[in-house]
């Protein structure tokens, strides 16, 4: 028995490792069916974010915030993002897809959270979006920055690239260039960052759904976030 015991242990660990990997990589468990199953669980066991924990309102961010969707939408998604962050770039089309699918049931707010310690162009990108925002073109710049993240993140000097984007979306480039270094833009980024810190944000993307943080592993792929939103909508009906 002692001769075969190590082989049994090795096989057990192999089985456990492969089983864990299979369980974690298999297609998304939170399908709409699973949502229905979750909804039938007793409140507090797992359920939707609306059933978990208390809401920390945090301190206010930049006002007016950059938001899409009706103010009274049953689901409010507040994203703290960094335009240079690859997962934020992956999350961007998912969030857009959710907005299209759920329409006026969802309101989306974007908050600046540039991780300047690890992303050299994060602050420049945040400033570019805010400067465009002063001319009413925040979302246009926001979309371009994410859609073309791979084009600019490895550039040495991103200023001419972002000026090109500004021109492309139709903002007054001279005013945009002045606004880039304005106190107003800096203050907006600072206020959003301060709000993020008050809510315990440590990384990006961090998303709060009706004030409760959505775990990072529930944001991607789209099926997971869809299930979380559906859960929240069901909870809101009760």
């Amino acid at each position: 028995m002692k001769r075969i015991l190590p082989f049994i242990i090795i096989l057990a660990v192999l089985g456990l490792a492969l089983g864990s990997a299979w369980y974690l990589t298999r297609s998304v468990p939170s399908t709409p069916t699973a949502v229905g199953q979750q909804a039938s669980q007793s409140p507090g066991t797992q359920g939707s974010p609306a059933q978990q924990g208390s809401v920390n309102p945090g301190i206010p961010g930049a006002e007016p915030a950059h938001s899409h969707g009706p103010a009274n939408a049953p689901v409010h998604l507040e994203e703290f993002g960094d335009f240079e962050c690859p997962p934020c770039g992956l999350f961007h089309p998912v969030l857009k897809q959710m907005e299209e699918e759920f329409g006026d049931k969802v309101r989306v707010t974007f908050r600046e959270f540039p991780l300047v310690t690890i992303h050299q162009h994060a602050m420049a990108a945040a400033s570019a979006a805010e400067a465009a925002g002063l001319q009413g073109k925040f979302w246009e710049m926001h979309n371009l920055l994410y859609d073309r993240q791979n084009n600019w993140k490895s550039q040495f000097d991103v200023r001419p690239v972002f000026e090109g984007y500004a021109k492309e979306i139709g903002v007054d480039v001279e005013r945009y260039k002045r606004d880039l270094n304005s106190d107003l833009v800096a203050q907006r980024i600072f206020n959003d960052g301060r709000r993020g810190h008050s809510l315990g944000v440590k990384g990006t993307p961090t998303v709060f759904m009706n004030g409760r943080e959505v775990p990072f592993d529930q944001l991607l792929p789209a099926e997971k976030l869809r299930a979380a939103i559906q859960n929240e909508l069901q909870a809101a009906k009760r």
Partner: protein, 140 residues
Amino acid sequence: MRKIYVSAALLSLLGLADALYLTVEHLTGATVQCTILSGCSEVLSSRYAVVAGFPLAGLGAAAYFTVFSLATLAAFGYRAAGTLLTPLLSAMFIFSLWLIYLQAFVIRQFCQYCLFSAAITSVLLLLIVIGRFVLKPASV
């Protein structure tokens, strides 16, 4: 010496879990969240994270599993398994140094999970070297 092999087996399980986590992240298409202190998403989405179409983290998981198997066999008295541990861990250690170099000077971002793996490999090698060459081989 048996205690050293048992410790090495347990330690390699930590490495296996770490590498498995990174492999799953790679295979599911999700990348690790950007955090204030971590550049994991940059490291894991770099071209160095894939070797011949295979996730590097997967190779790491296979290596840690091999270390676990050899250490377990050695703990149960299979001497040949213990002998194989030194070259395997040496190769893993050198590869870890190469990955740290890539993070420091090429990608210019550090991933905490990759550093954790390098630390485990270093401790494993140290354990085995101490066990095999500093402690009396006669006690093996």
